[in-house]
Symmetry: C2
Subunit: 101 residues, 2 copies
């Protein structure tokens, strides 16, 4: 068994909530804060904290705009975020394969 | 995308170090404390703490014996641990598949 892959799992992405956020954003060009919150059943506070961590890592870009005179917060993966998430999923795949063989 | 699987990932197993320990133990009938420590490049303190968490969850059984007059600590998965780990790997597999499609 190759044990390096465990150490290589990036903590920023590995946390369950952030893994969910990254997965959703990897599947859509962009999502609103409200969409993500509802899909992952998170509180405002929890989602904000996770998004900040992902922003600080340079993986997610958060934009504040207005739609129909109401503030709208949208999130998208940066290209760095896409690369990091693909690498992360590749590691998970290896871990699953090792455990299945 | 099914977002339930993120919430279902069990925290006890999801932490990277414990994921490594569970993977190694799932692949062997039993391993010594020293084997695991070396394979995962962990400190004594770190491995002890993780093993205690896994023991408290009922997933790992730790036995202290003697070999050639020296104390020997061995670890093995309980049947509950095997079931929980298979379920965990099944969830990871779903997450990987969702992200690949």
């Amino acid at each position: 068994m190759n044990t390096e892959c465990f150490q290589q799992l990036e903590k920023v992405i590995h946390e369950r909530g952030r893994m969910g956020i990254m997965s959703l954003l990897a599947a859509s060009p962009e999502l609103s804060f409200t969409d993500i919150k509802q899909m992952l059943e998170m509180t405002d506070g929890n989602l904000s904290v996770h998004l900040r961590t992902l922003q600080q890592a340079g993986y997610v870009q958060v934009s504040k705009t207005f739609a129909r005179n109401r503030p709208l917060t949208t999130c998208r993966l940066t290209s760095e975020g896409k690369t990091a998430f693909e690498r992360y999923i590749g590691l998970l795949e290896r871990i699953v394969r090792q455990n299945r063989s």
